[in-house]
């Protein structure tokens, strides 16, 4: 077996390089810290000369997400990236994409808010991402990488899920993993689909009729309430299937755990260190790491909740995912939150202190 090529790269660079390698047709983005390396890497790589991938710097995040909408409506694999304030600007577009049932990938390299906030890492866009963000009843399939390797691996996975459910998929990361350099094995090259393949795989897409007997229309508009309700019910049925089939998570040292930490992304890395420190002091703690934030691993947390004495939810925010953890376990055991705000990343021993307070 040939030795796999290992690169030492930033999380943001991994997103860009993985996009080129997974057959992405187009990237549309606008600069914002701490994710500008995505567009910079793509511009330096010039994939339009190799794979034929389009890379375009838009005039705003509004334009970026609507370029994504335009490209997605033609069945192409298209994506954008931004950070929290830019993602706020994209909420309207994401609602339209979900409403028109279009697949795309959006990468959010979260920074602290609210407002212009800070450029330091944060996880405070959890609510915005998994509870809607834009208007209307819709969901974003959300993947939360906790390493640079997962940044590289989740681009293709996000596209696969987005096309399977014809819905936007979000890669929700933060400035820690976006800026951090780690060893990565990049995914192998997957060719971009030909126009014929796109038309076969996406019979709904607005590609030009090309002999089709009927025109294809991409829209989220329907003025008749009865029809609009049916459209919504179809979308909700799709979400139900997604909730049944696509939950992804990781368990770490949960077998003998008396206590449980629930954390995602970079917070989960800190939680692992906290667990090692706690176990050094004889406290048996495990970690449930949700990889999909929507659909959320509700059943898995519920099951672990029956085995442990209490749950600490560690997040870089004021307490957002804790609401979903509480919904999973109800009032059956204590659930506490520990987090830092404004771009501060907590130390493992701070989290350990918070855990000890529960015990």
């Amino acid at each position: 077996m040939a030795e796999k090529e290992v690169s030492l790269i930033k999380g943001n660079e991994a997103i860009a390089l993985a996009a080129i390698r997974c057959g992405c047709d187009g990237y549309f983005g606008y600069p914002i810290t701490p994710q500008s390396e995505v567009l910079e890497t793509l511009a330096a790589q010039k994939p339009w000369e190799t794979t034929g991938m389009v890379v375009l710097q838009a005039e705003s995040e509004l334009a970026s997400i609507n370029m994504v909408y335009g490209g997605a409506g033609t069945g192409k694999r298209v994506m954008t990236s931004s950070s929290s304030p830019g993602i706020s600007l994209m909420q309207e577009g994401m609602s339209y994409l979900a409403g028109a049932e279009l697949p795309c990938v959006v990468f959010n390299c979260m920074r602290g808010g609210p407002g212009l906030g800070t450029i330091q890492p944060s996880q405070s866009d959890y609510f915005q991402t998994v509870k809607g963000g834009g208007h209307g009843d819709y969901r974003l399939i959300t993947l939360a990488p906790s390493s640079v390797q997962e940044m590289a691996d989740f681009v293709d996975l996000a596209f696969e899920l987005a096309f399977r459910y014809r819905n936007p998929a979000m890669i929700l990361s933060d400035g820690v993993i976006g800026q951090m350099m780690e060893k990565v094995v990049l995914p192998g090259f997957k060719p971009r689909r030909t126009e014929e393949q796109i038309m076969k795989e996406c019979p709904w897409a607005a590609t030009g009729r090309m002999g089709r007997t009927h025109p294809n229309i991409i829209t989220s508009l329907e003025l008749q309430s009865e029809v609009m309700e049916q459209n919504n019910l179809r979308i909700q049925a799709k979400y139900k299937e997604c909730e049944e089939k696509e939950v992804r998570y990781e368990e770490y040292m949960c077998e003998d755990a008396d206590w449980l930490i629930v954390a995602f992304g970079s917070a989960a890395r800190i939680a692992k260190k906290t667990i090692q420190l706690a176990r050094g002091e004889g406290i048996k703690v495990g970690l449930l790491l949700p990889i999909t934030l929507w659909p959320f691993p509700t059943r898995q947390i519920e099951a672990l909740g029956r085995k442990v004495k209490g749950i600490l939810v560690l997040e870089f925010n004021a307490g957002q995912m804790i609401e979903d953890v509480k919904l999973a376990v109800g009032c059956s055991l204590p659930v506490e939150h520990y987090g830092r705000l404004g771009g501060i990343v907590p130390d493992p021993d701070e989290a350990l202190e918070a855990l000890k307070k529960m015990i």
Partner: protein, 256 residues
């Protein structure tokens, strides 16, 4: 007698373009949208591009343009049609890509997308219906509303101190190096309709030839919003709109 038999009884001198389907239009009687739709459908048919056209409709009266012309369409969020079209054309370079937008959509909420798409030299065409008012939402003031013109949000007439000046988007478009062809037309008389059709054809051809972005402004009326009969509104347009928005080509570098 069937429809075909009626047609066959005499010499066929005129017919509806094949791409314009039978769906009854929702536009008000006397509205120029129907005429412009017909011209767009005719030009696509004439150019043999029905299989290779991807169009983008706006938010506004023409939101349902996709119901009437049988090509593939994407319906955009308010003002964002040129962003969609930019991506579509770059991803499908051999397709005819155009947007169809009103003045509220293009000249107000979508000004940034319009100017940047035009100036990026996207090989698209923007069909711009300027009736100086927000028609669909009930006749509110638009950025193109003339000074002194009354609307439901400037019921005493537009005045500079309160509302600023009307915006001439085509004039801005003409000075952008990314644009190839910028023209202003009307469709209120038969000669005008013929000229407008030729302008749309020229714009579509330039965009297919990769000569740059193209803007075809159609100075129009809104008899419902203006609260005038169709006849009176065309007269008002001639007397008030046309002097402020003069007709003809503002720029044509495609011939060179």
């Amino acid at each position: 007698m069937t429809r075909e038999e009626i047609i066959n009884t005499g010499e066929l001198v005129y017919k509806k373009p094949e791409l314009l389907n039978e769906t009854p239009m929702h536009y008000c009687p006397g509205c120029p949208h129907g005429t412009v739709h017909k011209l767009v459908a005719e030009v696509i048919d004439d150019m043999g591009m029905r299989d290779k056209t991807i169009a983008v409709s706006p938010v506004g009266c023409s939101v349902f343009a996709y119901r009437y012309i049988d090509v593939d369409w994407e319906e955009a969020a308010h003002g964002r049609a040129p962003a969609l079209a930019s991506a579509i054309k770059r991803l499908w370079p051999d397709r005819l890509v155009f947007t169809y937008q009103g003045d509220g959509d293009l000249a107000c909420i979508g000004t940034a997308e319009t100017i940047h798409a035009l100036n990026r030299k996207e090989n698209i065409t923007i069909i711009f219906i300027n009736n100086a008012i927000y028609g669909m939402t009930g006749g509110q003031m638009a950025p193109t509303t003339l000074l002194g013109q009354k609307t439901v949000t400037c019921p005493y007439g537009r005045e500079v101190a309160l509302h600023g000046y009307p915006l001439k988007i085509a004039d801005i478009a003409a000075i952008l190096p990314g644009t190839c062809y910028v023209t202003r037309q009307t469709v209120h008389t038969v000669p005008a309709i013929r000229k407008a059709k030729a302008a749309i054809r020229k714009a579509f051809e330039y965009s297919l030839q990769g000569k740059g972005s193209n803007l075809v402004e159609i100075v129009s009326t809104c008899n419902s919003g203006w609260k005038m009969s169709p006849e009176k509104s065309f007269k008002w347009m001639e007397e008030n709109m046309v002097p402020f928005y003069p007709l003809g080509d503002l720029k044509d570098t495609g011939k060179e």
